[in-house]
């Protein structure tokens, strides 16, 4: 555990302040009606957004639809982006995950009866405490997060991945695994605390 943390710390590169400033400038231009600012924004973030969406929806055609929705939403809501909530990359990824899970749930609803979920409003979240150094970029960082997940006890990891990447609620996870809801809640909480600890020691 200590070894990988040290390795992770050495490799964690904060997204450069310059590219974050570029991102904010792109959103400012988009908000002002300059649609051409979408191109540099896409070029910087499409890979991360596409990768997350594809992981969740597991279908290339659906993933392309969702990526298009994410950037269209970013364009429409550019004026609502608040730098105090976190870097643009994190903002895009939150939208990407929300939309991808919506797609997944819509698909599940078509294949069987499932409770409808209303779209979660990102705006209702308290202002996030990201600072510039919190955002990880690139394949190396992806591997480090995967490694942190790999360090979790298997059942905690399964519960967290089912919640995050498959979009299941705690209750759905408990029903699926035929385990008490309290057990699933505990696993998710302990797993997230452990991940938080791993990532927080870097600052």
């Amino acid at each position: 555990m200590v070894m990988w943390l040290l390795a992770a710390l050495a490799g964690f590169r904060p997204e450069s302040a310059e590219s974050q400033a570029d991102d904010r400038e792109c959103l400012r231009r988009l908000a002002a009606g300059d649609r051409e600012a979408a191109a540099p924004l896409y070029d910087r973030h499409a890979r991360a957004v596409y990768s997350l969406v594809l992981r969740i929806v597991d279908d290339e055609a659906d993933a392309e639809d969702v990526v298009q929705d994410v950037f269209t939403q970013a364009w429409r809501q550019a004026s609502r982006y608040d730098p105090a909530r976190g870097p643009v990359a994190a903002w895009l990824l939150v939208m990407a995950r929300t939309r991808a899970i919506d797609k997944l749930r819509a698909r599940r609803a078509r294949s069987g009866p499932q409770p409808a979920e209303d779209e979660r409003a990102i705006e209702t979240l308290p202002a996030a405490g990201f600072d510039a150094a919190d955002v990880l970029v690139g394949a190396e960082q992806a591997r480090q997060v995967q490694r942190a997940l790999g360090e979790l006890p298997l059942l905690q990891r399964i519960a967290i991945e089912l919640a995050y990447y498959e979009g299941l609620t705690q209750r759905e996870i408990a029903e699926r695994l035929e385990e008490p809801l309290g057990t699933v809640k505990t696993r998710i909480r302990l797993g997230l605390l452990k991940l938080r600890e791993s990532l927080a020691e870097e600052t």
């Binding site: 051409e36 600012a37 979408a38 191109a39 499409a46 890979r47 991360a48 596409y50 990768s51 997350l52 594809l54 597991d58 290339e60 392309e64 990526v67 298009q68 269209t72 976190g86 994190a90 990824l93 939150v94 990407a96 209303d118 979240l125 308290p126 202002a127 996030a128 405490g129 990201f130 919190d134 955002v135 970029v137 690139g138 394949a139 992806a142 997060v145 942190a148 997940l149 298997l154 967290i160 991945e161 089912l162 919640a163 995050y164 990447y165 498959e166 979009g167 299941l168 609620t169 705690q170 209750r171 695994l177 035929e178 809640k185 998710i188 909480r189 997230l192 605390l193 938080r196 927080a200």
Partner: protein, 258 residues
């Protein structure tokens, strides 16, 4: 545990979006007035952002960029995109006329370099394929757990390991995830082997090497043509496994009802 600890304990699940509607509304009402819980949410948002990046990075398809930019309405390349191919072809035609004679010589040199590059690409592809396979297997296991046709089979410890337990989660379409706990440590040169009894003869679903606590997991990508399992068992076999079970039974179970 106080009522507040209960609520605070929901912060992580809230950030993952895995609360029920009712739980979520209760949490949101509480968090707007509780600084402690709000800071808990902020801390978990960092974890959530990291999870968003913790996936295998894939290059988006080439055509997606144009599609997205057209949807946003920004088409900065349109004006010169029309004449760019024409100009490129004109330049190419002239260049080809002039250099046709020299090309033959260069082609040979380029072919040698190309072959060299192809060999390097093949080696790199192998590395990528290996890591994709590992990631893909875990993702398949997650897919099983999210399958709509999930069935459960619990296995009980046999005489050789009375306290061992295991559970198989079976989806006809997506395969099987098998988790075991409390298995005794392996004797040297031996391995646990998981068997699925579906047709006439048991099929090997994989080898299992338990961790220090006796727990382990096997993902089995079910062949599409086998019927639902009638039983699942674990035996002790020589390292590397065998095509049919020979050793003592450690775990066994059958579906409650199918």
């Amino acid at each position: 545990m106080s009522a507040h600890d209960d609520i605070k304990g929901q912060a992580g699940a809230y950030v993952l979006g895995s609360l029920d509607d009712e739980e979520r509304r209760a949490f949101e009402a509480h968090v707007s007035a509780c600084g402690e819980c709000a800071s808990e949410v902020r801390a978990f948002q960092r974890v959530s952002a990291a999870l968003g990046m913790g996936v295998a990075q894939r290059t988006p398809p080439a055509g997606l960029r144009d599609r997205v930019l057209a949807a946003v309405g920004g088409t900065p390349t349109r004006d010169w995109a029309v004449w760019l191919p024409v100009a490129a072809m004109l330049v190419l035609t002239i260049a080809m006329g002039i250099y046709a004679a020299r090309l033959q010589v260069r082609v040979e040199g380029l072919e040698a370099r190309l072959n060299n590059a192809l060999a390097q690409v093949a080696a790199a592809d192998q590395l990528v394929a290996d890591s994709r396979r590992v990631a893909g297997e875990l993702q398949s296991a997650m897919g099983v757990l999210a399958a709509p046709d999930l069935a459960r089979i619990d296995l009980a410890g046999q005489a050789a390991a009375p306290s061992a337990r295991a559970r198989a989660l079976w989806s006809r379409a997506r395969g099987m995830v098998f988790t075991a706990s409390n298995l005794p440590p392996l004797p040297s040169g031996r391995v646990y082997q998981v068997w699925v009894v579906a047709g006439a003869a048991p099929i090997s679903a994989g080898l299992l090497m338990p961790d220090a606590s006796g727990g382990g997991m096997v993902y089995f990508n079910t062949p599409p043509d086998i019927p639902a399992p009638r039983a699942i068992a674990v035996t002790l076999e020589p390292a590397g496994g065998l095509p049919a079970p020979t050793g003592a039974f450690y775990l066994m179970g059958a579906p409650a009802a199918l």
